[in-house]
């Protein structure tokens, strides 16, 4: 993990707005955005902002956190299949672990992920929560 702002700044559109890209050659949508299309190896793209809505493909609750995330343990993480196709992985929030079910409708929210490095650089990003009734 870097103390430096640059690697976090580079990912800001992905983290705050779920911006991926769409291949101009074959139309495949990607999140994260790619330099080379995974489907056709095309190299021309346009940005594409995902809606943030999707379905919970799988999940787990982590009891042993990696360094930097200890204060949040235990916490739930999941794989969400976005409505537009790509899969995204994220922490799950605003939900109890025992409420989680494969197939739940989920939506993206922006949350603090953690504080990084000695200077405590605050890192924000996407998490997912169940879409309320």
């Amino acid at each position: 993990m870097a103390d430096n702002l640059a690697p976090h700044w580079r990912l800001r559109e992905q983290r705050y707005q779920l911006v991926g890209n769409v291949c101009l050659k074959c139309g495949a949508k990607h999140f994260p955005p790619r330099q080379v299309c995974a489907e056709c190896r095309g190299t021309e793209f346009e940005p594409f902002q995902f809606s943030g809505k999707g379905e919970l493909y799988s999940f787990t609750t982590l009891r042993q956190a990696p360094a930097g995330f200890e204060e949040f343990a235990p916490y739930a993480v999941g794989m969400i299949k976005l409505d537009e196709g790509p899969m995204v992985e994220a922490m799950l929030t605003d939900v109890d672990a025992d409420e989680l079910e494969i197939g739940m409708r989920m939506e993206m929210v922006t949350r603090k992920i953690r504080a990084d490095g000695e200077r405590g650089l605050l890192i924000y990003g996407y998490k997912f929560r169940p879409i309320g009734d």
């Binding site: 993990m1 799988s58 787990t60 609750t61 982590l62 042993q64 956190a65 990696p66 995330f69 922490m91």
Partner: protein, 385 residues
């Protein structure tokens, strides 16, 4: 392309080696292998390792270990492919000889995991996954395997106990392997009562944090240096990759790199899955075992756990796996495991596996995986039988 044989093996026990450093472990295993092969010189040394920099502050292992072995001057290189580093180092060593460039090489897999606390080790292991989109979202490597396991159980209507035979088999075999980390059998009751690490994965589904080094001496098959009686032929050495991040998999429940690498290996060795007498697969977590069996062609999709349920994975079953304990019970010193697998396969083919001997073993398959099988390295070894 030259034919390649393994003429010597060596391994340290897998333990928490508080009293030994990374370089000491590597040299120890290499000296054993050189002695086993009755040779004193090699043309090149390949070092398989994942986290020496992160966990011990040391990179540049090729030059370091050549030097520590008293062989400064020879070609030497660190090979990294996350948890598949060991298998990848064997593959690199194989290519060094098959190409005709080297006559004899040493391969050592080494990992020192116990010099830092668990949080740092967990963070290090997450580097096998996508750093920007998986690790930085707080998703650990066990978390990825847990999500795959949960979905696999959901799609194929399974429960946690269906995975127990993999752990039970591994520990039963490790009880007869003095080099194994865990040398006591495990009961079904212990398995079902085990604490969850990341549900549905429990402590008994997971391989341990540990230290160890295993080494091989490879040589041209035409120059066995008097080792013909115990030499084992490398019939296949193949490597394939899959998308690194789990979220980029076309099919998160199919290990495509395992499939590709296995198919290439069967073709290179001129065999089919039916010819394989034992399979040292990459059981870092129990979920990887049935998925590997499926993608490698030993079981139909979704039925990998049935082989275990039916007892076919034990020493006397149709397809013995983890014959010396596997990653689960012999242990998983990350970058070393792929070399331990080959050492154990050689022991089996030489008829030197003691109580764990697979009868009439002729073809042994080993498979070392990096990340959630984003790298798969397959070796098929042929014994004299």
């Amino acid at each position: 392309m030259r034919d390649v044989s393994i003429i010597g093996v060596g391994q340290t026990p897998v333990r928490e080696h508080w009293d030994k450093s990374l370089r000491q472990l590597a040299v120890e295993a290499l000296l054993m292998a050189l002695q086993d092969a009755h040779v004193e010189e090699v043309d090149a040394i390949y070092v398989g390792n994942m986290l020496s920099g992160e966990l011990t502050g040391q990179e540049h292992l090729g030059a370091l270990i050549a030097d520590q072995l008293g062989m400064s001057g020879v070609a030497a290189l660190k090979v990294e492919a996350a948890c598949g580093a060991g298998g990848s180092a064997v593959h690199a060593g194989y290519l060094g000889i098959a190409s005709g460039q080297y006559r004899r090489v040493a391969v050592v897999g080494v990992e020192k995991m116990t010099d830092l606390w668990n949080g740092s080790v967990t963070a290090g292991l997450a580097m096998a996954a996508d750093g920007e989109y998986e690790a930085q979202n707080g998703i650990s490597f066990v978390g990825l395997n847990a999500m795959v396991m949960r979905r696999y159980m959901y799609e194929y209507d399974l429960v946690e106990e269906d995975f127990a035979p993999f752990a039970l088999n591994a520990h039963a075999n490790a009880a007869h392997n003095p080099n194994a980390m865990f040398r006591k059998p495990v009961t079904l009751e212990q398995f079902t009562k085990a604490k969850k690490v990341a549900d549905p994965i429990s402590l008994f589904d997971s391989s341990p944090i540990c230290d160890g080094a295993a080494a091989l001496i490879l040589s041209r098959s035409e120059n066995l240096n008097g080792n013909a009686a115990r030499a084992v032929t490398v019939a296949a050495s193949t490597l394939a990759t899959d998308s690194l991040a789990l979220h980029d998999r076309k099919d998160p429940l199919w290990l495509r790199a395992v499939e590709l690498s296995s198919i290439k290996a069967y073709a290179q060795a001129g065999v089919t899955p039916q010819d394989i007498d034992l399979f040292e697969l990459h059981d870092a977590f129990s979920i990887v075992a049935p998925m590997s069996l499926e993608a490698a062609g030993f079981a139909r999709r979704g039925t990998g756990t049935y082989l275990a349920r039916d007892g076919e994975i034990s020493i006397h079953g149709k397809l013995p796996i983890s014959t010396m304990g596997g990653l689960k019970a012999r242990g998983h010193p990350i970058g070393a495991s792929g070399v331990y697998q080959v050492v154990e396969a050689v022991q089996q083919l030489r008829g030197e596996a003691g109580k764990n001997q697979v009868p009439n073993a002729r073809f042994a398959m080993t498979q070392s995986l990096g990340g959630v099988a984003a790298t798969a390295v397959t070796h098929i070894l042929r014994g004299k039988n």
